[in-house]
């Protein structure tokens, strides 16, 4: 799923070099994605996986692994 999430990052316009380098436990805010990217990423995840990311949970999703775990719980 990490690769799928990276695919979504490319889809929303994050630079390929950055996407290739980002690790699953690396904090995304600031260095990898800015606020606009973050929002577009959340929207892309909601549409792809059919999960809803509320404000409360959005503030806890800092890394790709955080997103993966959230999606897995949501899908179950």
């Amino acid at each position: 799923m990490i690769n799928e999430l990276k695919e979504l990052m490319l889809n929303i316009g994050v630079e390929e070099r950055i996407v290739n380098e980002v690790g699953p436990d690396q904090t995304l805010a600031g260095r990898v994605m800015d606020s606009v990217d973050y929002t577009a990423f959340i929207v892309a995840i909601e549409e792809r996986y059919g999960v809803k990311v509320t404000d409360r949970y959005a503030l806890k999703l800092r890394t790709l692994n955080d997103f993966k775990n959230y999606i897995n719980i949501g899908v179950e």
Partner: protein, 499 residues
Amino acid sequence: MSTPNAAVELLTHNLELHPEKIAYFCGDKELSFRELDKASRRFANLLQKLGIAPQEHVLIALPDCFAFPVTFLGCLLSGVVAVAVSPNLSEEDLAYIIKDCGARLLVALSELAAPLSVKGNKVNVIVCDDQGPAEDAISSEDFGTPYQPLTDDFAYMLYSSGSTAKPKGVPHRHKSLLLPGDLVGKSLLGLTCDDVIFSSSNLSFAYGLINSLAFPLRFGATAVLHPGKHDPRAILGIIMQRKPSIFFSVPTIYTQIILSCTVRELKLPMRLCCSAGEALPAAVFEEWQRLTGLEIIDGIGSTEMAYHFISNVPGKALAGSAGMLVPGYRARLVDDNGSDVPAGSEGSLLVNGDTKTPCYWNLPEKSAETILPDGFIRTGDIFIERDGFYFYRGRNDDLIKSGACWVSPFTVEEVLRSHPAVADCAVAAVSVGTLNKPGAFVVLKPGTVHTTALQRELRAHMMARLPKYMCPVRFRFMEKLPRTSTGKIQRFRLREKII
């Protein structure tokens, strides 16, 4: 009838009380109140030597650096109207604003690529460094008596995006710079000369102008200016270096700081954190409080009203609410017929107060549409009021507030329509959590298939042509768009409500 010159009111008492105190930090540099006063008078002198008469317009397109307050206050001292705009405007938008306000002078960090003229007269450009215009040509000693404004004279003007593609000039009188100091700064926030103020919102916006110019000068506080990017690391770096007691920012920045934080608790030097620009989600308020122990004092204002008219109060902030009506202002929530809605019902917010603009510049029809005969201004926002607290529920027009900046759907649609695959499109607010963002609804040309590659291409197309905050966060593909019988797009049918 005359009225106090805001620049005189803001500068003089500081010169008398603590002339050597630091008025502004910017990077590693400092500017004292004495130096600020001297540089402002030097600029006022330059304007007079250039023959810029009182009530003529000078355009200031500068980032947050010393040159901004110097040139802004210099304009006011000489009675010239300071028109403050973002330094990141395209040359096309800059040219539009210069012609709209008839500015004879542009103050910027660099020359224009192509010369401009207004009514046959060339627009001069004063190129500044971050300190202000070059010193050698002008002296502060030659500047005589500051301009004595009349009550109806304008002091400054800002430009605000509208639902059409062109921005609207919002002029303000001198009192609009002075009243927020008492109504909000003193009465609600308890600002004093011991405060150090850092606002991440730029001086060219109404919020940033009062935060970083009117408030610090009114109270003799020190302000921190940051001309660079608003990323969470840079902002936290400034906070740790300059230790502000008051931090003004927007929900997006608070969110990004929370998301970039890898520690469980964050010890910050502020006694107050304030937010405006768009509705602060309750979750952001609560998480910030958990992380830092600090409330975020959310409020709402507008360029038309110069600053906040609804605000939370320190110690009593309510998560998810924009706060209560600021004493001195009046508000109504009305239905489509203009009648007050029953208590607890959604209504369109009208507001009135002494800091309101009298008109939109050169737009009598738009002015009449927005500023009602009884003096109330239509904000375009929908609210619910409960027990005196106001809760934001969205817009009643097509404008979108994203990242605390206005997004005109027309501007975005024009760019989107220029992509060869797009036959038709509309842009409307979509909800992401409790915030609105621009969403694109696209009808593709016959034979064009919606693929991931096309979606990436559309996104890249938008990002190459528009500021990022204007770019749609979502593309939805449709067979056709909702339209009236006369063909007008019904964006309200696409708009998602905030729950």
